[in-house]
Symmetry: C2
Subunit: 268 residues, 2 copies
């Protein structure tokens, strides 16, 4: 099944969509938050009068689980250049995620360009550690959802995978969809929350690290089918940690800046 | 009038607050977006069962103007550790800002601490360029709202003020409230959008740069009455620019990381 099919939404009345959280996107028994947000962004893109997200923010209220879900849209201003729309995804009539996005038409956006961020230094994809869940690998590592897209870890930041974390809360590598499926803004949303928690490369306990809030800034559309991603933490504090994601297209340059707050895994 | 008074909200029925966008917070004829968001955060803090914001996101739909406003609260999950709440601020029955926040009790948050960000190098406050609007200075520079709080620019990044921008989209300096009024989370929200647009220090046109979306992460409460702030742009692209704010307490360390997308001023 394609990524597009796994993130499909079906209109079901006024400003309402039915969707499915597909099996196989799990980390333990919980669906990856970035994937569940993809369903919302797909619905927003159907509902709003602009083709491209500029900024999407999500607050994660409860874990999502494989099964049916409902998305309700709350329309904001539809302006000439920018439109705002909110949405809530429900399972069993309980809120799972609240999101708000601003949308535009990137083809119509004009102005000078200055990029001060620098393309991260990541090993060539052939030298990276491809990580893909296999059906016989159980629920934990690599988690099932890594079977749903392509991810390869920079060996300099992949110590967590061999039990030898390098001590800094950072991850990085290459990411794409399976079978070279084209990367749209919904896939970029997935990639903004697809790397393992940065803190797996420190000496902190490893476990489920639920995202509390995620904001994704989309700057341009992807041109390549495999993208460079880094995920780094500025602070760990009070049981929470920040995570900054950059997604770079080797051809087109910087595509996404995203930032999240997540909870540290519970000490077992 | 104190900052607390200028950001007061009054309950006005179920999950509804009345408030006032006070005069004197303007840039041109438009109220500073960070200040208008303060009114929403004040209402959220009254409505929610937790004392501290962790993360507040706002999408700015229309300019706010001095005068009355209504805030409507939409409650999300109230959990044991975290609670989510959304709010919309209306003027003349039109949406001005949509916001969603996650709240917690910082006193109850526990865990290890790691800060990888570094305190910015800013000149001592005595060496900085205090900028305060005076009643006879008209609407533009310094804008009236700089009369409502204390801001002093690092001379290394204050070239915009003398018509000699240093060429990089960055600002920095000290910020606080007037009369040493204690800095609460609402004031931190103001400070996350209080410095002039970074692009004033480039050679791009200067003018009103409306914020599209702002996310503020609050990590701890302020201990000092004057805080170090930097505001830097990673990219300018398609008529928009990003802005990353850090707010540091010289005693307590990193307080806030915030990021916004804003529109470049229109070319005149």
């Amino acid at each position: 099944m394609s990524f597009a099919e796994q993130t499909a939404v079906r209109p079901a009345g006024a400003d309402t969509y039915e969707t499915t959280i597909w099996e196989g996107w799990d980390i333990g028994s919980v669906a990856n938050g970035g994937y569940v947000l993809c369903l919302i962004v797909r619905a927003m893109l159907d509902a709003v009068d602009k083709p491209d997200p500029i900024s999407v923010n999500a607050h994660f209220e409860r874990p999502g689980h494989a099964g049916p879900a409902i998305i309700k849209i709350d329309r904001g201003r539809e302006g000439r250049t920018l439109s705002t729309v909110s949405a809530v995804l429900y399972q069993n009539e309980k809120e799972v995620i609240r999101a708000t996005g601003t949308f535009a038409d990137l083809d119509a956006m004009e102005g000078p360009t200055l990029i001060r961020a620098e393309m991260p230094q990541i090993a060539p994809i052939e030298a990276c550690l491809a990580t893909r869940h296999q059906p016989d690998q159980g629920q934990f590592y690599p988690p099932p959802f890594t079977g749903r897209f392509a991810i390869a870890h920079d060996p300099e930041r992949a110590g967590f995978a061999t039990g030898e974390p390098h001590g800094q809360p950072e991850m990085g590598g290459w990411i794409g969809l399976l079978d070279d499926e084209p990367i749209d803004a919904v896939a970029l949303t997935l990639f903004a929350d697809a790397f393992p928690p940065t803190i797996f490369n420190t000496n902190l306990p490893i476990g489920w690290a639920p995202t509390v809030e995620l904001t994704v800034h989309y700057r341009q559309r992807a041109a390549s089918s495999s993208l460079i991603t880094t995920y780094e933490t500025d602070y760990i504090f009070g049981g929470m940690f920040s995570g900054d994601v950059e997604i770079w297209d080797p051809e087109a340059g910087l595509l996404v800046e995203a930032r999240q707050i997540a909870l540290l895994p519970k000490t077992t």
